[in-house]
Symmetry: C2
Subunit: 223 residues, 2 copies
DNA sequence: TACCATCTGTTAAAATATTAACAGGGCAAA
DNA sequence: TTTGCCCTGTTAATATTTTAACAGATGGTA
């Protein structure tokens, strides 16, 4: 990729990155259906956002559509791939092959060519040394070695919350580059490791709050 | 709750709501450890944010701490509860008791007093009529009836992506108030239903993007 | 007592993110 | 070929969110 393009990409807003990932998924589905071109307002409708936002995002990545025809789906998919994906792909490990870890493994396997789950880690001796859902499983102590050997760049954390400190320590020591934490306990990593945390209960409580508010407002309007 | 407080709460930013949920969880852990008061900078550190942000959020909900002592943990937990929780609680249903649906069920059960999973829905005839992880399981066609009977307010969607249209239709018809969608396919619901969508692949691709960027920058710095 | 360090609460400023507004181009129908 | 419509691309305006700055209060300390 040319230097200029790389400069464009560098300052991309986090929100735009998230939306690009979502655009791509929507586009892949459209492509499968045999669609060749798509309008910004069509993408917008799928994603519940405005067409302006779509056009703005695409402007930011320097992609131009064809007037009156819209955007070439295949081209756009490739461009988003150039931005998000690493050319050689990135290998991923799941830390904690419990209920969530297994569900995630199953879900992610073969979903994205450029992201491959190549290892799981667990303390359960029945799991260590065996494959779970086709993924070889290792002991946490082997982490540094396996991460290096298999060139693992990203870890998804699904261990019990109490195991976060030791798990974090091992991941840092192993030289991991990015972490996605599904545990409700925030993890602490140095700046050079990219960290994304997601907590289901926060989402659920957010929904609960707005449902409550809607009910209160209805109540008020009735009076 | 007095009208005045309700007005304060009404315009609370989405981001503040999310953080309040997270503060509460952190506070509950502190309380368990026997801590009575906490400083804004302590909360901030746990959540990887700044203490200003914490104080600002607490200002928005009208809570005042004690100078030099910080915030009373028990009081704050209760206040956040008043804001987020509905007095009578809200019942929740899981739509699609597969890998993710079961993992979520297990995770959420007994995590929050005010949010109770009271039903699961699935098309698998082996599941219908039985309990899964203590949760009674019903056929999708029974949704309207069960939602009314059990006063279910929120649905968590974990069905295969292809089943989103029919599932959405049933949920709307059943009079659901809030939806948390874990499927990668965006759902379409009327405005009066609060919708939150979370997509794991987006999170993972976001991590992948920033890991890639960090590697490119390292590369550049070496030159 | 006077001073210092520390923490809260709030206002002001800055940074991000979204939306509005509109110029410009191309196709199609009249 | 002219008019109108419907797209894109971009700049300007607005809204939201975060951060900075600082006044005020309290308690410890010299
Ligand atoms: N289940 C869910 O849907 C869900 C949702 C959101 C968050 N979470 C969080 O994800 C985590 C896992 O949840 P779960 O339901 O899969 O629990 P689980 O008990 O089924 O799985 C945890 C797994 O981690 C393994 N483990 C324990 N210590 C370890 C260590 N030090 N290193 C590596 N592996 C270790 C255990 O052997 C087990 O297999 C929890 O922190 C939970 O809060 C779960
Ligand atoms: N597994 C994960 O970790 C994960 C992560 C993120 C998102 N997702 C998404 O969650 C969804 C479920 O994933 P999964 O791994 O649990 O799949 P799964 O196949 O294990 O579970 C799906 C369940 O839904 C049931 N079902 C099918 N049609 C239904 C209908 N019309 N009404 C009610 N139930 C119905 C099926 O019988 C099955 O039990 C998928 O859309 C997937 O994309 C999964």
């Amino acid at each position: 990729m040319v230097k200029e393009t790389q400069n464009l990409i560098k300052g991309l807003p986090h929100k735009t990155i998230e939306r690009l990932s979502q655009y791509r998924r929507a586009l892949l589905i459209c492509l499968e259906k045999g669609k060749e071109y798509i309008f910004s307002h069509e993408i917008a409708e799928i994603q519940h956002i405005t067409s302006v936002q779509v056009r703005r995002d695409l402007m930011l990545i320097g992609y131009s559509g064809t007037l009156r025809k819209g955007y070439n789906i295949k081209e756009l998919i490739n461009l988003i791939g150039n931005i998000i994906d690493s050319p050689g792909g990135i290998n991923v490990a799941i830390i904690g092959m419990g209920n969530l870890g297994r569900a995630v493994s199953k879900y992610l396997t073969h979903k994205r060519q450029k992201l491959t789950i190549v290892a799981g880690f667990d303390i359960n001796s029945k799991k260590i040394g065996n494959e779970i859902l086709g993924i070889p499983c290792y002991a946490p102590d082997e982490m540094k070695q396996i991460v290096e050997e298999k060139k693992i760049g990203i870890a998804i954390i699904t261990v019990p919350a109490t195991k976060i400190p030791e798990t974090t320590k091992r991941l840092i020591n192993a030289g991991i580059r990015g972490v996605l934490n599904f545990t409700p306990t925030p993890v602490v990593v140095p700046d050079n490791i990219f960290l994304e945390e997601y907590d289901m209960i926060t989402s659920l409580e957010k929904v609960a709050f707005f449902v409550k508010q809607a009910m209160i407002e209805e109540e008020e309007n009735r009076m």
